[in-house]
């Protein structure tokens, strides 16, 4: 059965028809067309679908589309308005923190949730924050380095 769903994604209001069986990830990818969030496992174990819901990092594959109304949802597409990369994204580019790229959107949003609440993290804090995001390519070091560098940039007032 399909139902109309109205929600706010990246500050923009959307009204779309969603199947009652759709997850938030299906809503974002298939109904709204924001394909930056990925589906790697479909049951909350890989983190490739991580988005921000009211500021918290959430696996979009574990929320139903019908739970979206009233929430403030941010996806990877909302982080670089007009093409200016967020310091986390910029640091990942410079440090080689993205290889195949499939985990990257989720990593960026988990990192953002971390730095929004803890602007001065230790490397262990960073590793803990992305422990729900599996990366199979990098071995994690360059991602951790990038997030630490982004924290320093943000602390210095960069955006």
């Amino acid at each position: 059965m399909k139902m109309p769903v109205t929600c706010t994604v990246n500050g923009e209001a959307h009204t779309v028809l969603a199947d009652t069986r759709d997850t938030l990830l299906d809503l974002l990818r298939e109904r709204i067309g924001l394909t930056g969030s990925k589906e790697g496992c479909g049951n909350g174990n890989c983190g490739t679908c991580t988005v921000l819901v009211d500021g918290a990092a959430v696996n979009a594959c574990l929320m139903l589309a019908l739970e979206a109304p009233g929430r403030d949802i941010v996806t990877i597409e909302g982080l670089a308005p007009r093409g200016k990369l967020h310091p986390i994204q910029q640091a990942l580019v410079e440090h080689g923190g993205t290889q195949c790229g499939f985990c990257t959107p989720g990593i960026v949003l988990s990192a953002k949730a971390l730095l929004d609440g803890n602007p001065n993290p230790t490397t262990h804090d960073v590793r803990h924050a992305i422990a729900g995001n599996i990366c199979r390519c990098t071995g994690y070091d360059k991602i951790v380095d990038a997030i630490m560098a982004a924290a320093a940039t943000l602390q210095a007032g960069g955006r």
Binding site: D19, R21, R29, E30, G33, L34, T35, G36, S37, K38, E39, G40, C41, G42, N43, N45, C46, T48, T75, I76, E77, L79, A80, L85, Q89, Q90, L92, V93, E94, H95, G96, T98, Q99, C100, G101, F102, C103, T104, P105, V108, V126, R127, H128, I130, A131, G132, N133, I134, C135, R136, C137, T138, G139, Y140, D141, K142, I143, V144
Partner: protein, 755 residues
Amino acid sequence: MDSEKNGALQSIGKRLPRVDARERVSGGAVYPADLKLPGMVHGKMLRSPHAHARIRRIDTTRAEALPGVLAVVTAADFPELPIGASIPMGETGYDMWMVAQTNMARGKVFWVGQPVAAVAAVDVHIAEAALALIEVDYQPLPAVIDLAAAMAAGAPVLHEHVFTKGVEPRPRSPSNICSRTVIARGDASAALMTAPATAGITVAIDTAHQGYLEPQAVVAQVDANGFLTVWASTQGQFTAELMIGRMLGLPLSQLKVIPLEVGGAFGGKIVIHGEAVAARLAQKCGRPVRIVLTREEVLQGGSGPPAAALIDIAVGADPDGRLTAIRASYHLDAGGLPGLGTSLVMQASAALYQCPNLDLQGFDVVTNKPRTEAYRAPGGIQAAFAMEQAMDALSQRLGMDPLEFRKCNAAVTGGLMPIGTPFPSIGLTTILDRVGAHPCWTDPLPQGRCPRGRGLAIGYWRGTSMTSAGHITIAGDGRPMVTMGAVDISGVRSTMAQVVAEEFGLPLDDIHVQTGDSKSVGYTDAAAGSRVARTSTAALVEASRDALGQLRTRAAEKLQCPPDQIDYAQGRFRARERAGAAISLAELMQATLTDGAVVGRGVSAKLPLGVEIGAHVCDVEVDTDTGLVTVLRYTAFQDVGRALNPIAVEGQMSGSVVQGIGWALMEGFDYGPDGRLRNASLLDYRMPTALDVPPIECVIIETPVPGVPYGVRGVGEVPIVPPAAAVANAIARAIGIRIRQMPMTPERVLRALRA
């Protein structure tokens, strides 16, 4: 290549960001599951619930009647390929009968999860509902799930046409042992009998998975003329095209494969998994069809995992520590269809040691589990887990330092490889010297609450070369536009931009690199075997020089002097004899654009091998209460010939090591007696997270390969070879016990401690 030029490289060797990184961090990179075409519908595959069964009948009428269902296909919708049908790939070709069986079972199923039918419907939920309406009448057959059962006398035979190869005289009855491979010199058994010091180990290794995060996905579309376009996540658009064309019985001129971004592959996306099925559904229903596998499908049988193995090794040395014999048997579990063979694995495990007596025997065995495929140096990690533990045990028996033991027996340039041919340029002794001088080896091991140990292991991988092609057109503004055949699974667009920038003497930003589809660039083999950066470098150096030669002719005309009196550097042609007479690439192209295109072409075939060698050192702590092994410190040394981009090299090395640690300690398929995978989710099949691994220190060593442009070696495979052995050797030195199963889970370590 010209050595004076290598002295002052402008782009090659620099730590530069990937040219496609911005797209990846902002969610713009397009993978096949992201593609949505007008009118596109959704495909789903029905998979076998049985490990071994005959298919008596398939009735699709109820599924076809479900509203929203547009097409249903079974093996009857594909031409039946004869046993032994093959397509070109490398030196041996690739077995198409097996590819067809892997994508759509015909007559019999050989593993749980093998596809038996597929549906296209307007909605993915309807497609799923339709699968439940397909009636398959199976006659279950006795199944063999593990290696020992498959080889036992009287075991149910999977394939009536398989008679063990490599046995004389030819056996009279079919067998689950598909082949026996022997590599031998001297008399290893006799040497072992008389060796003053011997050691040995028998290990059992579980199946694991490549663990790429992007499940297989494909979109297929047929136009009004019947021309098929397939957007795929593949390591090779040409290999995929050959496989799809053969499965459909479609001439190669009637289809093309467009490779999109690949969300990890590691060997698992060479063979098609659903591409031809989506194409047949699209042909049948006249709409574009998308198939995206679920993670459970990927793990349960919808993709090819690497092989489980049983390996037995005995080694012997003289009192000075010189190896006198290696005797080994390797049983590789190919899954439900004959496998990749055992030769490379056998070579990999023994190649790095000089030894007068070798007796290596390999057996490729079928069982009722998913058909296995490549995973990063396929078989290398399994072989090293056994061989490097045996060598470590022998060094202990001799009372020798394990590094000194390896130095004493290290293979050298010109020495004999196991197959009897001389080694090309290798830098193993250099690597071992670097290990010995590094703090990871010289620092004392810090004490902890629980026992700690330091392990060393070395690894070898042969790699391959095969064929790559590319061309460079010069844009109207004078900039080189590169189209290469290589699919980018390792940052090769970026490293090739560096190569072309180097050849043209231009800034990196002036170079644009793209991967062509299978109809817009020359034939190129799949991105596998650590071949792509090396062979693409060779092809694009040739293409660059071809383009520059054509430009030189034009410049000579403009500057009114013979071409041999024209110098080129950094984007400008100059007349040597006439000061001030010069023209830039941009000016030249603007002036001559309507004279016709400048297209430089390059092909690399039969490039010398760029064998890969690495040595790894790790420190572990073993919790004797829980069996948990923690890797405290990890250092990887590797000879890469020349690092085109050190960031990319480190990324390949660190990623490989973490995959290796994953298989070493936590990743293993758990099959039930019915052949069903009991841990078919990423909750139960655990891959390392950022908290499970330490920082990986990468030490890059550069011993260029002669006869290869810029001396580039393969990089991406060998760093997965030593990790499991390095961890195992560290564990053995921590607790004095060798763990004979992999993964070395807490449960297994605890059992070993309590045995």
